[in-house]
């Protein structure tokens, strides 16, 4: 458990091994990366994919439960062999703590979607309200002119609701990137806390001078 292992099995980095799907076929993988919170790291990770002309289907990055540690969730379609090598390259970056990859059956995942629809249409059609509640939609904002609903779910589910709402004057739609919980993630939270406690992360230093361009002398 202390060190990476290098047997022939490609699944060493995956908490519970490959699982599902053939080794040679491409399939959807979710890559979870813990990193330091540093300017430029997003680019450093993104170019590992673009260098190989791999399209990123979905990318979420935000602080983990520990402020100084960020968690990336990256979804791509590739073979396990390629994904395994990508994770090694990601993990090799100085400011990356750890990279995992998982197939869809090894994770619980969700995307969040928001739908903006005209309020009068909903008010008129009782059916719409029923449809919305069938899809688990919850109103976030209700105004005279429009209402915003949110739904969390997998791609198909949020897609379906678009189709449902289209005939009723859907105004705007937005979907977030995937976030995922790894089913076999025993101890992640405690490890992170312990890690941060033992050695707190560095604060991000941002450019303090951008708004001072008229006050500063330069040549």
């Amino acid at each position: 458990m202390n060190t990476l292992q290098f047997n022939h099995t490609a699944a060493q980095l995956s908490p519970s091994g490959g699982g599902g799907g053939g080794l040679n076929g491409r399939k959807e993988f979710t890559i979870t990366v813990y990193t330091e919170n540093q300017v430029g790291l997003l680019n450093r990770i993104a170019i590992i994919f673009s260098k190989r002309k791999i399209n990123i289907d979905s990318l979420n990055t935000s602080p983990s439960e520990v402020d100084s540690v960020h968690r990336f969730t990256i979804v791509i379609n590739e073979t396990e062999e390629v994904v395994r090598k990508l994770c090694r390259q990601i993990e090799k970056q100085v400011e990356v703590l750890k990279a995992y990859y998982n197939t869809n059956d090894e994770i619980i995942w969700q995307e969040m979607a928001m739908y903006k629809v005209p309020t009068d249409v909903i008010a008129e059609h009782v059916k719409v309200e029923r449809l919305l509640s069938q899809h688990g939609a919850k109103a976030v904002v209700i105004r005279k002119d429009y209402t915003v609903f949110e739904v969390a779910g997998q791609r198909e589910e949020t897609d379906n609701l678009i189709k449902v709402l289209e005939p009723y004057g859907l105004i705007e739609f937005v979907r977030s990137a995937r976030i995922a919980i790894i089913k076999s993630s025993d101890g992640f939270h405690n490890k992170l806390k312990e890690f941060e406690y033992k050695e707190p992360g560095e604060v991000v230093i941002e450019n303090e001078y951008l708004s001072e361009n008229e006050k500063v002398f330069s040549m």
């Binding site: 202390n2 990476l4 290098f6 170019i47 490890k191 361009n213 330069s218």
Partner: protein
């Protein structure tokens, strides 16, 4: 289940608690500028030589340098590419980290080729670039370039400093990252305001630990045991080694390993000189223009032991025809290399300075006379078909091989050989005799023409106790010959040996062999190189006759200071053996008729 393992890993000897860092007593509590902090960091890191070129955005650092003339030697190059290649040559000859200063915009973009070269050849560098004032970032200010984003793919780490207080810790990190684990180039971009800004200096603390970075692991004994078992059971074991042995400063450990195990060992171009080229177990060079035996017998060994090398395609040829019969042991400090190109039966992740002695301890003392003889038999064939005609030609024109042979006779294998890229590089690496580690300085992974002249300048500073010979083609010399100006001004002792075949020879060879001799823009013309050198007050001469060669080389070596010798060689000679692109290593050919 494996979780957050960098997190879990207890501190190794190299990654101690940060509180264990040693504060140095330089100027504590003093008010200094960011620029002075940069220079003090260099001094504290033991840097003496810096290669650089000034400009607007790095002027505060150059201003501070004016007062550091005693402590730091700055070599003013003629182009920033020259600075970074010089720093690379310095690093490769000395085993230390090379340091470069350049200005923003064009100064910084001129570093990119060298960064890419250092990245792929794992050369430790710290490059400091000036940047426009922090408040101007993103305004398309004069000489503003997004250097961090341009260099991200070609640096091991990079960072932009906008506040002077960051400088000591960031530079400490830079030196630590560049030199530890698998080394590589680091770039620190410092905005001009941070260079000028005064702050309360608490002294410089070297970095020896970064919580998210593990330069090397604690070695796992079970993999060592598995590897030893495979080697002990082998009948035809074969060691292939790369620069990792040199970078790990594990030359002795490596020698003891192959000598105890009686293991035939071949080097990659980057591993060359880790053991003397005439070591009885050294069976030659691998790769496209390597030796016949090591290439062919890669596909006959039963256990292939790869050490500090990365299975580059120039070494493996076609992967589906590479060592398929063999069990493969791969020792590397970079876990991303293990299983990257060739699947390892046993991967030993670690610093070979640590893993090799552990492995040697478990080895049975052995010899494999019949197996070793096979290498000798292949060498005999190669000698007859390729080596003999190259080293002892019967035609009138000189061959590159005989120039190298004669050079060997005069240097006795004690010189640092810096090569450029092309046929002369392959010939030099095939035939040069090397007795000491760090003798072979060449652009291996990137194949950067124009590398040799500046790298040789750097090597001359990196190890002034040895003779530095730069072997360069007529094409490549014209890519960075402006660095003759650096030689003129600072007088490093560099022996420049141009092997002039009046062609971009390596490309011409490919056009001849694979493009029906359609010589498309490879007949490059050259100036009078001796006259050019003379213009820079560097002595030199041109030879084309065999009976004058040895004396000319002797004159070059004996000359007090730098010297340029241009040797006219056969125009259309080819380098053989060759593993043609797309073929397996066993399909190595000895002549063009076999292609």
């Amino acid at each position: 289940m494996e979780i957050l393992e960098k997190i879990k890993q207890p501190a190794t000897s190299e990654s101690k608690n940060p509180s264990a860092s040693i504060p140095t007593n330089s100027g504590e509590g003093r008010e200094v500028s960011g620029s002075e902090a940069v220079l003090d960091a260099c001094v504290q890191e033991g840097v003496y030589t810096i290669f650089g070129y000034p400009g607007g955005a790095i002027m505060p650092i150059y201003d501070a340098l004016y007062d550091y003339k005693e402590k730091l030697q700055h070599i003013l190059v003629r182009h920033e590419q020259g600075a970074i290649h010089a720093a690379q040559g310095f690093a490769r000859a000395s085993g230390k980290t090379g340091v470069v200063f350049a200005t923003s915009g064009p100064g910084a973009t001129n570093l990119v080729t060298g960064l890419a070269d250092a990245m792929i050849d794992s050369t430790p560098l710290v490059c400091i670039t000036g940047q426009v004032f922090a408040h101007l970032l993103g305004t398309d200010a004069f000489q503003e370039t997004d250097v961090i984003n341009i260099t991200t793919p070609v640096t091991k780490w990079n960072y932009q400093v906008t506040d002077a207080t960051e400088i000591p810790a960031v530079l400490a990190k830079a030196f630590y990252i560049a030199g530890s684990g698998r080394p590589g180039p680091v770039l620190i971009d410092i905005t001009k305001n941070a260079q000028l800004q005064k702050f309360q200096y608490e002294g410089y603390k070297k970095c020896d630990h970064i919580r998210s970075y593990r330069p090397k692991p604690i070695v796992r004994k079970e993999y060592i045991e598995e590897a030893a078992k495979l080697i002990n059971e082998a009948e035809r074991p074969f060691v292939i080694f790369g620069q990792g042995v040199i970078l790990g400063k594990a030359e002795n450990e490596f020698k003891q390993f192959i000598e105890k195990g009686g293991l035939p060992a071949a080097w990659t171009i980057m591993g060359m000189s880790a053991i003397p080229t005439d070591h009885p177990l050294g069976v030659g060079m691998l790769g496209m223009h390597g030796n016949y035996g090591p290439n062919v017998l890669t596909n006959e060994c039963d256990v292939l032991i790869a050490i500090g090398m990365r299975f580059d395609d120039r070494v493996t040829g076609r992967l589906d025809k590479y060592a398929k019969q063999a069990k493969i042991i791969h020792l590397d400090i970079d876990p991303a290399e293990i299983d990257k190109n060739v699947k390892a039966t046993v991967g030993v992740w670690g610093d070979c300075k640590e893993t090799l002695p552990l492995l040697t301890e478990l080895l049975q003392q052995k010899v494999y006379p019949t197996w070793l003889q096979k290498f000798h038999d292949f060498m005999a064939k190669e000698t007859e078909k390729c080596i003999q005609p190259e080293l002892n030609p019967t035609g009138d024109t000189l061959t590159m091989g005989e120039v190298i042979k004669t050079l060997n006779e005069l240097t006795n294998g004690d010189a640092i050989i810096v090569t450029d890229v092309g046929q002369h590089q392959m010939v030099a690496c095939r035939y040069a005799k090397m007795n000491h580690s760090k003798s072979n300085i060449t652009s291996g992974g990137l194949g950067t023409m124009g590398y040799a002249l500046p790298a040789a300048i750097g090597a001359a500073y990196g190890d002034p106790s040895r003779t530095t010979v730069a072997i360069i083609g007529d094409g490549g010399f014209q890519m960075t010959l402006q660095e003759l100006g650096t030689i003129m001004q600072f007088k490093p002792n560099v022996k420049i040996l141009i092997l002039n075949n009046q062609f971009l020879g390596m490309v011409r060879q490919w056009q001849q062999l694979f493009h029906e001799k359609r010589y498309s823009f490879v007949d490059i013309t050259s100036p009078d190189f001796v006259a050019v050198a003379k213009g820079y007050y560097i002595d030199g001469q041109r030879v084309s006759e065999r009976d004058k060669l040895k004396y000319a080389l002797q004159t070059m070596l004996n000359h007090d200071g730098s010297y340029l010798l241009e040797v006219m060689v056969g125009k259309e000679n080819n380098v053989f053996p060759m593993v043609p692109q797309g073929r397996g290593v066993a399909e190595c050919v000895l002549s063009k008729e076999e292609i």
